[in-house]
Symmetry: C2
Subunit: 161 residues, 2 copies
DNA sequence: GTGATATACTTGACTACGCAAGTAACTGTA
DNA sequence: TACAGTTACTTGCGTAGTCAAGTATATCAC
């Protein structure tokens, strides 16, 4: 009905953006309900545990975790509050800088992460490999990595021992 | 420190997923603060106005809007509550089905959408075209469209008259 | 028609954030 | 050594969304 201006050139940019939003919403929902039900973790809980487990010395400054998860510092405080309440993470202080408080996995945290990893990784792989060839996955990963802050995703595949 | 299992095959699936999450967070944040400040709309407000404006007869069932935006019905109720309170959207009833209530743009809603479109579309294009060639954008769009529910993004480029 | 089931939508209670402001500690400059 | 500025983190408050439950209407089987 209403007249529309369809600028063909670079109209794809907007499409791509929308698909990014919707794809994120749908995949997150698909994966997080499973993670939630089976292991009581949100996607960010899981990612936080994973990042901490992979960090040098197995500890991570809250600030660095915020960057890795693309959260604000307050978001991280609350995220870790929850994980601490569940006994999966503990605070540790830094000897050289009294401002920083490290997050460390407890044995329970390591255990939970390991359990959750099995099914979560399998689900992620299933979700993507049923839609893309290896080559396409490679391409998609490379392209998404150029988005602001998406580059630091690096090798998140590891399953902590 | 901890031993890690790096399954090279399809490890990219997980990487891609993470980049999707982080890329979404970062691009949304970048674009929505501008939209918020300059036009008082969130990304979803904007998308809702756009979808309604593009629908046949300029009206849309709430259920269909939910699907298009990948929100739950209650999410749509609240989203539209806000837009109604701002006078950008109105309810209309359906003569053939008393359960459905349509969302229609008010003149103010059309005006706001049109104003917001200018800068928003420009920002989206800038954000993406500074990172990708036309060809890459095409590829990225095609790949993202395969994700669950991301396919219905279609030609969102239109600026309502 | 009448009851079972499905659909469209709303509401209350909750969660996961963000933002702004605050505290404490560190750093660099004079 | 004192003070300005920065950094790490927390807290109060607000918001956007979910889920579960509820209401009203429609549809289908018989």
């Amino acid at each position: 009905m209403s007249s529309q201006i369809l600028t063909t050139q670079s109209s794809t940019a907007v499409e791509v953006f929308i698909r990014l939003l919707r794809g994120h919403a749908a995949t997150t929902r698909a994966l997080s309900s499973e993670l939630q039900e089976e292991h009581g973790l949100t996607i960010n809980d899981y990612e936080a545990l994973l990042r901490i487990s992979r960090a040098d010395e197995g500890t991570m400054r809250r600030v660095d975790l915020a960057k890795a998860l693309v959260l604000t510092p307050s978001g991280v405080t609350r995220l870790l509050d929850g994980l601490e309440r569940c006994g999966l993470v503990e605070k540790a202080s830094c000897s050289s800088d009294a401002r920083v408080s490290y997050a460390v996995l407890t044995p329970a945290g390591k255990k939970r992460l390991k359990e959750a990893s099995r099914s979560h990784l399998a689900s992620v792989r299933a979700l993507f490999t049923e839609r893309y060839t290896d080559e396409e996955l490679e391409t998609l990963g490379e392209l998404l990595a150029r988005l602001p802050d998406a580059g630091r995703a690096d090798e998140s595949e590891c399953v902590p021992e």
